[in-house]
C-alpha cells in the first residue's frame, strides 16, 4: 500500500493556541489540496515549546471542543499534532494526538522529558508511561516525541508491537555548528538510519523551526525508510510543507532480505530485563 504523507515543518507562536490552530488549518488545507492522506505536525505544535509556567495556561483535555475545527478536517485527511494535555489526573503532559475521520485514534504522552542544560521539561510537565501501537487505515502507527527518539528502547517497544510507521514529532534546537550540517541533525539522521534499518519501519521525523528565547529549532524534517531512503527533506530553518509517498511493501521486502524480526525473541528480552531489574532494584 502506498500512502502520501505531508510533513508540516511549522513555526508555532509561543503560547498563542488560537493562531497556531489557524496555522494548522492552513497547512491541513494545503495538504488536502495535494491529496496527502496523512499530515504530521511537530511536538507541541498547538502551543509552542518553551512555555515554562505558561504550560498550565494552555493545557487542554484531548477531547476539548477547541480541537473541533481540526477534527472536522480529519474527514479528509488523518492528522497528528502536538499539544499540552490536561490529564484527568490533574497533571499536564507533553502529548501528541492522532485523529482519523473525526475521532481520536491515539493520545501519546512523551516519556523522556529532558531536564538538563537548556531543557526544563520535567519542571513543568508530567511524564508519560506507555508506548502504544494503534491501527490506522494505513497500517500500525506509533507516536514518539523528540527526546524519546534518542532512546532505542522506545523504538524497540514500537517494533515489538509491529508498528509500521513511527511518527517522530520534535522540537530539537540547533546546536553544534562546526560541521557541514548542525551536529544535532547528524545525530538524528544517524539514529533514524539505524532504527529504520534494524527495525524495518518507516520513521516520519517532523521537527519545527523558529526561535524561542534564543533557542533556534532547526527543522530538517524527513522520512526514513526501511531500505535506507530519505524522502521529503524539508531543509533547515524555514517553514515548509513537504510530501513523501511511502510504500509499505518496503517493510515486507526488508524483512525478507534481512529477517531480524523473525529471529527476535521477546521472551529472551523479558527474562533478561526482569533479571536486570531485580539485580538493580528497578534502577538503571
Amino acid at each position: 500500500m502506498k500512502v502520501k504523507i505531508a510533513l508540516a515543518q511549522i513555526n508555532p507562536l509561543l503560547g498563542d493556541i488560537e493562531k497556531n490552530r489557524e496555522k494548522h488549518l492552513e497547512f491541513i488545507g494545503k495538504a488536502i489540496e495535494n491529496n496527502a492522506q496523512i499530515i504530521v505536525f511537530p511536538e507541541l505544535s498547538i502551543t509552542g515549546y518553551r512555555l515554562k509556567d505558561f504550560a498550565m495556561e494552555v493545557a487542554l483535555p484531548a477531547d476539548s471542543n477547541f480541537f473541533n475545527p481540526i477534527l472536522k478536517q480529519s474527514k479528509k485527511i488523518d492528522i497528528a499534532f502536538g499539544f499540552v494535555e490536561r490529564g484527568s489526573d490533574s497533571n499536564v503532559y507533553n502529548s501528541a494526538m492522532y485523529i482519523e475521520n473525526q475521532s481520536i485514534k491515539s493520545v501519546y504522552r512523551k516519556i523522556y522529558l529532558p531536564t538538563h542544560g537548556m531543557f526544563q521539561e520535567l519542571r513543568f510537565m508530567g511524564r508519560g508511561e506507555k508506548v502504544t501501537t494503534f491501527k490506522t487505515k494505513y497500517g500500525n502507527f506509533s507516536m514518539l516525541i523528540c527526546r524519546d527518539l534518542f532512546h532505542p528502547s522506545l523504538l524497540f517497544l514500537t517494533y515489538a508491537q509491529k508498528t509500521d510507521v513511527v511518527l517522530g514529532m520534535s522540537n530539537m534546537p540547533l546546536r553544534g555548528v562546526t560541521g557541514e550540517k548542525p551536529a544535532i541533525q547528524e545525530t538524528v539522521e544517524k539514529a533514524i538510519d539505524t532504527y529504520t534499518n534494524f527495525f524495518s519501519q518507516f520513521i516520519v521525523f517532523v521537527n519545527r523551526v523558529g526561535f524561542e528565547d534564543g533557542l533556534g529549532f532547526y527543522g530538517g524534517s524527513f522520512v526514513g525508510t526501511p531500505l535506507g531512503k530519505k524522502l521529503a527533506f524539508a531543509g533547515i530553518l524555514q517553514e515548509k510543507l513537504t510530501f513523501a509517498t511511502i510504500d509499505l511493501e518496503e517493510i515486507y521486502k526488508k524483512r525478507q532480505l534481512f529477517p531480524l524480526a523473525r529471529e527476535e525473541d521477546l521472551n529472551i528480552v523479558q527474562n533478561n530485563l526482569s533479571r536486570i531489574l531485580e539485580e538493580n532494584y528497578g534502577k538503571f
Partner: protein
C-alpha cells in the same frame, strides 16, 4: 590553544534568521545599531543589513572628544559601504556638562558614564525610528562581564552573543569585512590607549581558549593550568566570571509572595511570538 573554527556559512544563516524572527515577532521591521567602528558593531551592522534590508537598519555613531578618530571614520565607511541609514551624535557636550560638576572622575566612572549615555541615546533613537536595539556583545565579553551593565550590555537581542572574539575575527573574514577593521586592536575606546588585551592581561586566543575549556568543556581551574596556561591569567579570568555574574542576571527580588518575578513566575521571554 583551542580550535575555534565553525561552519560560518551555517552560523550566518542561523543568525540572520534569528534577527529576522526576533525583530518581526516583536512587531518591528527595523533596528538601530550603536556603531563605534569596532569589529563587533561593524559585524552586527553587516548581519542586520542582510536580515532586515539596508533601509531598515540605522547606525548611530556617538563619538566623544577622546574617541579614536579612526573609529569614527571606520563607522562612517561601514555605513556608507552598506548603504544603511546613519546619524552622528557627538556626546562630548552632554557628557562634559556632567563631568564638569564632578571633582574626581576616574577612567572607570567616565567610561561607564559614556557607555550609559550612548545607551540612553540609542534607546531614544530606537523609539524615534520604531526599531529594536541590537546588542553587539560577544561571548567572551558576556562571560567575563567585560562591559558596562545597562550600558553597552543594554539591548533587545544579542545576535553575536554566542561567538567568542576569536570566532568573531574568523567570521568577520567570512563576511568580507575590510581587513583594516579586523586588524584593529579590540578596544572599548572609553579612554585613550585602552585595549581589551591590555586590560584583560592576555591575547584573545589565550583568553578564549581558557574560557572555552572552562565554560564549554567544563575543565577545572587546575586542569586548565596543567595544560600550560598561566596560573595568574586563568585565575584572573575565572574571578571575573564569578565577580560579574550579577551582570548576566536580573536583580534579585525579596521573595515572600507565592509567585515572584525571576524565581517562580517563569514566563518565557518570547511569549506570544
Amino acid at each position: 590553544m583551542e580550535n575555534f573554527r565553525l561552519n560560518y556559512e551555517l552560523v550566518k544563516k542561523f543568525i540572520i534568521e534569528f534577527i529576522k524572527e526576533e525583530v518581526h515577532s516583536n512587531g518591528f521591521n527595523r533596528c538601530v545599531v550603536g556603531l563605534s567602528g569596532g569589529l563587533d558593531s561593524v559585524l552586527v551592522a553587516y548581519l542586520s543589513k542582510e536580515a532586515l534590508g539596508k533601509e531598515n537598519v540605522k547606525a548611530i555613531i556617538m563619538p566623544y572628544k577622546t574617541s579614536n578618530p579612526a573609529s569614527k571614520e571606520d563607522a562612517l565607511a561601514t555605513a556608507t559601504h552598506l548603504g544603511i541609514l546613519y546619524e552622528t551624535i557627538d556626546i562630548t557636550k552632554i557628557a562634559d556638562a556632567y563631568f564638569k560638576k564632578e571633582k574626581e572622575m576616574t577612567n572607570i566612572r567616565m567610561g561607564n558614564f559614556l557607555a550609559r549615555t550612548r545607551m540612553s541615546i540609542l534607546f531614544d533613537k530606537s523609539r524615534e525610528f520604531k526599531a529594536l536595539v541590537m546588542g553587539t556583545s560577544n561571548k567572551s565579553e558576556l562571560i567575563l562581564g567585560y562591559s558596562t551593565w545597562y550600558g553597552d550590555m543594554a539591548a533587545s537581542l544579542y545576535p553575536i552573543g554566542d561567538l567568542y572574539k576569536t570566532q568573531i575575527f574568523e567570521f568577520a573574514q567570512f563576511m568580507q569585512i575590510p581587513e583594516k577593521i579586523i586588524a584593529k586592536k579590540p578596544s572599548a575606546d572609553l579612554w585613550p590607549g585602552q585595549t581589551d588585551e591590555k586590560e584583560l592581561g592576555a591575547k584573545y586566543i589565550q583568553i578564549d581558549s581558557i574560557l572555552t575549556l572552562y565554560v564549554d568543556q567544563r575543565k577545572t581551574k587546575d586542569e586548565i593550568i596543567a595544560m600550560g596556561y598561566s596560573q595568574k591569567i586563568v585565575e584572573s579570568l575565572l574571578n571575573r566570571i564569578k565577580k560579574n555574574q550579577f551582570k548576566r542576571t536580573l536583580p534579585p527580588v525579596a521573595k515572600f509572595s507565592p509567585r515572584t518575578f525571576g524565581l517562580d513566575f517563569l514566563y518565557p521571554h518570547d511569549l506570544g511570538k
